[in-house]
């Protein structure tokens, strides 16, 4: 039981990290970025490449994958969202063009790495396992949880306490007023995508470290869970995404243990519907104001 909770927590921290980037873009820009899962997949493959093929030490691969994710985010904003800004169908058109961008990204990943699963070399990460109170925890799991928490708290700090964060919240509330204040709205928008995508790519890397391999379908698998997390937590709420990610991870782990793995999604989405019946705005969301 305790073991299941621990496993759920580790998986949940990856869900949360994936979802927090997605919800950041939605909360501030009201864009649904459907390329987020493709960036997650790209981050996963890139980390296999850097660690197993290029032989880079893992501590160097972490910042490189984040950097690559950030750059892809800038590109995504520039070609899939910015050209549509100001159009009456901006939001719907952006959703479609982000799907297209994600498709292109996956095609490029496939062109480079093929359709086979890419395994990470076993010596890439010290295979330490600790046993605490009968629960075995691997170093990879601990690293995942630690990094995910640090990154999510870091993001929350950026949004709450830095000039960039203040500008982001100003853009979220009223882009026109933000512009009048001298905020470069285009640059804040691009920064939001860079941050979001860096976290998305990092979530992909942590996933690969935990399961030992990456495959082209890994983004699809987490995308639905990610949506559930975002809605459960309240669209646009960073704290909501963090809490809901962990909750969903725990719920999945307990379901697999007590009922069976095929019930995993039934319980996860059942939970989603149940919460939406009681609190339509999600755990942390407010329907009217955009909480960031």
């Amino acid at each position: 039981m305790l073991q299941q909770l621990a496993n759920g927590l580790f998986a949940g921290s990856i869900y949360a990290l994936f979802a927090i980037g997605f919800t950041l873009v939605f909360g501030i820009l009201r864009h649904l970025n459907l390329a987020h899962a493709a960036i997650f997949t790209t981050g996963g493959f890139l980390s296999v490449d850097l660690i197993s093929r290029q032989g880079l030490p893992i501590w160097l691969a972490f910042p490189l994958v984040m950097l690559a994710g950030g750059l892809i985010g800038l590109l995504l904003e520039r070609i899939a969202f910015r050209p549509l800004a100001g159009r009456p169908d901006e939001h719907f058109a952006g959703l479609i063009s982000s799907v297209a961008f994600g498709g292109m990204l996956i095609a490029l990943v496939q062109a480079r790495y093929g359709t086979e699963q890419q395994s990470i070399s076993s010596e890439a990460f010290p295979n330490e396992v600790y046993t605490v109170a009968g629960v075995s925890i691997s170093l990879a799991q601990l690293t995942t949880l630690g990094l995910a928490l640090v990154l999510m708290l870091g993001l929350a700090w950026v949004v709450a306490a830095t000039p960039l964060g203040r500008a982001m919240r100003a853009v979220a509330e009223n882009a026109r007023a933000a512009r009048v204040l001298g905020i470069n709205v285009e640059r804040v928008t691009a920064s939001t995508y860079a941050l979001s995508s860096a976290l998305g790519a990092m979530a992909g890397m942590l996933m690969v470290l935990n399961v030992g391999q990456g495959d082209l379908g890994m983004g699809l698998a987490i995308e639905l869970t990610g949506f559930a997390v975002i809605i459960l937590g309240g669209m646009g709420s960073l704290w909501g995404a963090m809490a809901a990610g962990l909750i969903l991870g725990l719920a999945e782990a307990l379901t697999i243990h007590h009922i069976g793995s095929s019930w995993k999604d039934v319980v996860a989405f059942g939970l989603l519907f149940a919460i939406l019946l009681v609190r339509p705005q999600g755990l942390f969301g407010t329907i009217k104001a955009r909480e960031v």
Partner: protein
């Protein structure tokens, strides 16, 4: 900058401005000069194009033709944030304060371009507007309309502008609050900042201004020293009425 001879030194010059929204021509061939240190007002009826002119000067809408000069430089195609950095700040119609952010955060955003230097400017604003100091940790949306207008002006002043563009600052305020806001405009001016004021309340605006421009359906109908416009029978009949 010293403003010993305001009339001699034009800080903003608008020449032959045309602005269209789609096929609708909102502003046609408008030209005016703003002397440094002065208060210049654009008055006229609702829909005359006053706000459009101000937004074009502030870089929020792109004119179809015409030129905006700021301190002798052509800034017609500059984006708004660049103009703010250069010292020209808009206090938009409807105030556009950020209601879910605190009063303090709103003021900090006014100093977005200046970061460190803005702390002193914010303290100055708290001194000038004690009511904002009292409410600095409240959400700006909880302020009254007049207080929000003060916040909007204070927020613009934190950027230490040379020119402040004010769009309908007295709109929707109680008469007593209108007096207060015109008092604020006077202190803004006395601190050496040039003011371009757009107002529907033509009489109050002309009394506060040095020079006035009267807009009618997108074109300039009358212009001149504000004191003269206040007595001009055509202006009195159309915009001022009998007091």
């Amino acid at each position: 900058m010293s403003d010993t001879a305001p009339e001699s030194d034009t800080i903003v010059s608008v020449q032959g401005l045309h602005v269209s929204y789609g096929r609708v021509q909102a502003v046609r061939d408008i030209s005016f000069d703003v002397p440094a240190g002065a208060v210049v007002t654009l008055v006229g009826a609702n829909g005359a194009g006053k706000t459009t002119v101000l937004n074009a000067v502030a870089g929020l809408v792109k004119p179809r033709a015409g030129t905006v000069l700021y301190r002798g430089r052509d800034v017609t195609r500059w984006p708004a944030h660049k103009l703010v950095a250069a010292g020209m700040v808009l206090v938009p119609e409807g105030r556009q304060i950020l209601g879910t952010l605190t009063v303090a955060e709103n003021l900090q955003l006014g100093g977005w371009r200046r970061r460190k230097a803005s702390a002193a400017a914010i303290d100055e604003m708290y001194e000038r507007f004690p009511v904002l100091a009292e409410r600095r940790n409240l959400r700006a949306g909880s302020l009254s309309g007049g207080e929000q207008q003060m916040l909007a002006i204070a927020r613009a002043m934190v950027a230490r502008p040379q020119v402040i563009l004010m769009d309908e600052p007295s709109m929707g305020l109680a008469p007593k609050m209108v007096d207060e806001i015109f008092g604020v405009i006077e202190t803004v001016r006395s601190s050496g900042v040039t003011v371009v004021l757009v107002e529907q309340n033509a009489r109050r605006a002309l009394r506060a201004a040095d020079t006035g421009y009267v807009l009618e359906t997108g074109t300039l109908a009358h212009s001149g020293p504000a004191a003269r416009l206040l007595k001009d029978p055509r202006v009195v009949q159309a915009y001022l009425g009998v007091e």
